[in-house]
């Protein structure tokens, strides 16, 4: 009797877990199906290769090439910047400082707090800075603000991987007469490359999908920017503006844009996974 009850419990719990897991997969499929079905009718090649012409948001001619390029410029630029700032931070607090370092704790605390700040706050902060400096909405401002959004994501992501690097690897390099710098930049970095790749991907995904932070800082335009100082369109805002129109045809274009955005993120994710596998070739797993 007691035994039956335990088996029943086991079955119910298993059932719940299976349901939740399937729910997640179902959600992904549902989103992709929705944007595909709704967007496919509006999706055509001119969406991809043309910029918005006059009256685009009223159902006129044109495409969203400017927003695709804008999003890439902002998310790409910001990810690069954030990577070059966060990697030294993380290597410093992990390899150069001892395990009980107060400074490292403070820095970890900082990026954990920054990680939780909503992107609209970064946007508002960026906007205030721009007003103070007398700058207008521009590609550069967009890149800088998205860098702020991505920085804690990257730093946290990389920090988690670096903390898992076995201390023996550091010791082995030091024993060969390597300086701390050589240990960090020539040895530890190779162990964490796949992890860095994942962190970059997360940060890039967050950056390219963010609408709130770029709203005031990058502005919006119908053109491909020719300099860092010009305002620039982004995909999430393009989706937002198209959805906001009363015209069903334009709304369908919004779904087509969403489809393109999702496809872009997905293909980058798959590419990164492929490279990540190559990068983890030399990683030391067993210790």
């Amino acid at each position: 009797m007691h035994k039956d009850k335990r088996f029943l419990e086991e079955k119910i719990i298993k059932g719940i877990m299976r349901f939740c897991a399937l729910l997640l997969a179902g959600l992904l499929i549902l989103i992709i199906v929705t944007i595909t079905v709704k967007g496919l009718s509006a999706l055509n090649i001119s969406m991809l290769i043309k910029t918005a012409k006059g009256g685009f948001y009223l159902g006129g001619e044109g495409g969203i090439l400017h927003a695709i390029i804008g999003s890439f410029c902002i998310a790409g630029g910001a990810t690069c910047l954030a990577f070059f700032i966060s990697t030294p931070i993380v290597l410093y607090i992990n390899v150069y400082r001892k395990k009980n370092s107060k400074l490292a704790e403070l820095i970890r605390f900082s990026f954990n707090v920054l990680w939780g700040i909503p992107s609209i706050v970064y946007g508002a902060f960026g906007f205030t800075c721009m007003l103070f400096l007398g700058l207008k909405a521009s590609l550069l401002a967009g890149i800088l603000v998205i860098t702020l959004v991505e920085l804690p994501i990257l730093a946290r992501g990389i920090d988690e991987v670096v903390q898992q690097v076995p201390i023996e690897i550091t010791q082995a390099a030091l024993c060969l007469g390597a300086t701390t710098g050589e240990t960090a930049w020539k040895v530890v970095i190779r162990q964490i490359l796949p992890g860095i790749m994942t962190a970059i991907l997360l940060a890039f995904g967050r950056g390219i999908g963010d609408a709130a932070a770029v709203l005031f800082t990058a502005g919006f335009s119908d053109y491909i920017p020719e300099s860092l100082m010009q305002p620039v369109a982004t995909l999430p805002l393009a989706i937002f503006f198209q959805l906001g129109t009363p015209f069903p045809a334009v709304q369908n274009r919004a779904y087509a844009s969403a489809f393109i955005l999702t496809l872009l993120v997905l293909s980058i994710s798959i590419t990164a996974r492929f490279f990540s596998r190559k990068l983890s070739r030399h990683r030391i797993d067993r210790l």
């Binding site: 010791q171 082995a172 060969l176 190779r190 070739r281 030399h282 990683r283 030391i284």
Partner: protein
């Protein structure tokens, strides 16, 4: 004039916070011999070994009194950059730890950071030291494969080759066979015996039989204190101190 050896320890005490790990150790390590440090777990064997190349710097809350002279230079001199000290000593850890790179790059790493760029010479160095460590035949056709793919015994020999490639004068071994199977342990022991004519070797072990097989000199530590030190024959066969006798004849373990 007293003859100088590579490593001389004078009144060395090491504390981890309030815990005394080593207490007033004075010791001269003879050159080109195998000195084996024995003693029960937690007696300070590894601490002593890690003091030699200042790997002990990485420990949290460590405090050091006294001096260790490596080639007449006190390695605890404030402000001293320890890299050149470490370069003089290859360390074999308890568990072999290859660097996250290929077999070739593992051995070439040391020479590379010390400035050697010539590919042909690097290749020669890698081949020579892999041969020294008895690994060349097994890996010569897969030099560019990840080092992590080697068996654990091969990895330990790779670590030895990697250490030898920076041309040390001293080899430190921290229970270097404890993670290995008997056959691999035997190979490592044979290599040590072969290398001792050219290198000063200091080993930590908790295996008495291994100490008997390898040691020219024995250092017996107990509770952070140096209890007995001398030629292997006399310490192992005719220990003078009661603690040493008890340890060697198996009363304490």
């Amino acid at each position: 004039m007293q003859q100088q050896t590579h490593i001389e320890i004078k009144n060395l005490s090491v504390f981890y916070g309030d815990v005394t790990a080593l207490q007033n150790i004075t010791l001269t390590i003879p050159d080109k011999k195998i000195t084996v440090i024995i003693g029960p777990s937690g007696c300070g064997k590894t601490t002593l070994l890690k003091s030699f190349n200042r790997l002990i710097d990485l420990e949290v809350g460590v405090k050091i009194n006294g001096k260790i002279f490596v080639d007449k230079e006190n390695i605890f001199t404030p402000g001293l950059e320890p890299t050149h000290i470490r370069k003089k000593m290859g360390l074999l850890a308890q568990k072999p730890c290859p660097l996250p790179m290929s077999i070739f790059e593992n051995v070439a790493f040391g020479p590379r950071i010390h400035g050697l760029k010539n590919r042909k010479r690097l290749h020669g160095i890698v081949r020579y030291h892999l041969k020294q460590a008895g690994l060349w035949k097994e890996v010569k056709n897969r030099l560019h494969e990840p080092a992590s793919k080697l068996s654990i015994g091969q990895q330990q020999r790779l670590c030895l080759a990697r250490g030898l490639a920076v041309k040390p004068e001293i080899i430190l071994g921290d229970e270097p066979t404890s993670a290995l199977d008997p056959a691999s342990s035997k190979r490592i022991e044979e290599i040590f015996l072969m290398l001792k004519s050219r290198y000063t070797i200091v080993l930590v072990t908790h295996i008495l039989r291994q100490a008997k097989r390898l040691a020219d000199y024995i250092v017996f530590l107990y509770n952070g204190k140096l209890i007995e030190y001398g030629p292997a024959d006399s310490v192992l066969n005719n220990p003078q101190q009661t603690l040493t006798q008890e340890y060697i004849y198996g009363v304490v373990s």
